[in-house]
Symmetry: C2
Subunit: 320 residues, 2 copies
DNA sequence: ATTAATTACATAACTAGTTATGCAAATATA
DNA sequence: TATATTTGCATAACTAGTTATGTAATTAAT
């Protein structure tokens, strides 16, 4: 199919489907060639029964990776053609043990011969070809199991989108965004407190003039995230990371990560040796992000915020 | 799937189907991720229209390798969601030119972005993997086109079965087989002649005693084919290859080829330099076989057989 | 100029799977 | 011990394709 050269990998599914169709079509012809009255779709079920004897329907389904109703149907068809039979000797009356009949056992010998021919034919193709489809399928099955195609694409999306995100320093034009982005999440999960209003209404006075910094994340030049580095009056900590907020519309672009990194970098540049932050454990993605940045849990510091139930610190000297 | 290690290549179709299912499932999730109201199965059709503008349904079907009714259905669905529209400006009123709507064109831009992410994700897998599934599919598509899986298996079957065939020299126990096998095909296509009865009823007198040979092909120790090497009284030819017959039940096992080769080998061993044969052009497989053995058409020799309309010779000196 | 064959599409019926759901049997829980 | 939950299977309804077939429009043949 010439078209797949143009579509790119997006059409992997379609391409696989077409290949599957030709293989299945050929399989049907092959059974005919051996004068075996056998539907190709029976093969996995038949194989399991001939190799491992009696099994229940659910066991077979799990083993061959089909759904249970699919196996039920196949067993019904095979029963009609006299290849399998139900063996009701199980104590558990829900389960139906099925096994090959005499006729089925005889057929399995015939099919074994057919298998060797098919194997030889495909081995021939493998020798002829530079790429081993069989091995490739096995490997890709494994890779998809480890990390699904969906997650891989999701990561690519994040990566690409994070490249469109710009982190800039605060200027007064972002004052309303700084407040509204924070107000949004705070009032969703908790309620605005005195200390919030102080900082959000007067960022210059309460943050910048005291030697702190504020970073703004721009996506398509719109402010979609903010985060502040606030000077502390504490013997242990130089700065606090606070007021991080990312618009729900812009989630999944690693904006929090970029903002956090910007704050940490700024703290280092200002010569800080320890960073501090306060949060709440119900904000799992945030806690997760702080961990990624290297923050570790600490306890027992005084805080003006009701919503704070976890405190964390980042030792910048360790990090180099 | 562990089972595929046991089934061998016979389950290639099943295995492909499972992989296709997981990829398609992931594809559906990916469209959701990009908040695109789009069914994965639309992709090939949509792609063709966005790349190449207006097309008829049949054109699209051919290009993407689907059946025409499949494309009809997809176009109907896409029309409902407002992505494509029929453009009735064609003179030929049977044809329906379809093209993207404004909405479709806008969407195609979104999907292009998605394509780059999917491409990047799959390129990532390709780098990670030792076997390149994408290339493997392309290569196997090509190899199957050149020679179908069915034909490859058929050849393997022939090869295996020809190993079960034994070529032995004639002994009197095979006299009835020698006659009946020949009588079968001669009376099917022509009618038995005087010369036939002479040779078939008295093989010892008319063939063996004059310095000729007869070979019998045994399949599971049953005689299923015969062929004779008959001494000639001719200045040009030492021997004639004649009375080749293979049972219809044993066709497709290359028995004719093995018998022919045995006769040629025997002729060489007897010091013959030229072999002769007579046949009829309606027996195409036979003529084909003679060609494979190296026989070439000659003309103008006298023959006692009515059914002879082609004569061939094999120069054994040329052959080494 | 008719008639026959072909083409383009739609529709119906089938295939090989899937999910959703119902029911009886078995197991766990109060 | 009675009740709730889980399990194993069957059945129904759906999905994404297929082949077979019908109909109108066009083209080819007589």
């Amino acid at each position: 199919m010439k078209i797949f050269e143009k579509t790119g990998k997006m059409a992997l599914g379609s391409r696989l489907r077409l290949l599957t169709a030709t293989v299945t079509e050929n399989a049907a012809q092959i059974y005919e060639l051996y004068q075996v009255e056998f539907s190709p779709k029976w093969f996995p079920v038949f194989f399991v029964l001939s190799e491992e004897g009696e099994k229940t329907i659910t066991e077979i389904a799990n083993e061959i990776g089909h759904s249970q109703p699919s196996v039920t149907k196949i067993i019904q068809e095979m029963t009609v053609s006299g290849l399998v039979q139900e063996n009701l000797k199980s104590k558990d009356k829900r389960r139906t043990l099925v096994g090959l009949t005499q006729k089925g056992t005889v057929l399995s010998e015939k099919i074994k011969v057919q298998c060797t021919d098919v194997d030889a034919a495909i081995e021939g193709i493998i020798t002829e070809a530079t790429h081993n489809l069989w091995e490739a399928i096995e490997e890709w099955e494994f890779l998809f199991e480890q990390k699904s195609l969906f997650r891989r694409v999701q990561e690519q999306k994040k990566l690409r989108e994070s490249k469109n995100v710009q982190i800039v320093e605060y200027t007064p034009q972002y004052q309303s965004a700084f407040k509204s982005l924070n107000e949004e999440w705070i009032s969703t999960y908790f309620e605005m407190e005195e200390a919030d209003y102080k900082a959000l209404d007067n960022p210059k006075e309460y943050i910048l003039d005291k030697g702190g910094k504020i970073f703004v994340a721009l996506y398509n030049n719109e402010p979609v995230g903010v985060c502040a580095l606030i000077k502390m009056n504490d013997a242990n900590y130089d700065f606090e990371m606070a007021k991080m907020a990312v618009s729900p519309n812009a989630q999944g672009k690693n904006i929090g990560g970029l903002l956090g990194q910007a704050v940490v970098d700024a703290a280092k540049q200002l010569g800080a040796s320890k960073l501090y932050l306060e949060s709440n454990t119900i904000l799992k993605p945030a806690i997760n992000l702080y961990h990624k940045l290297g923050f570790q849990k600490v306890a027992g510091l005084a805080t003006p915020y009701k919503r704070c139930n976890i405190q964390m610190e980042l030792n910048l000297n360790n990090q180099l």
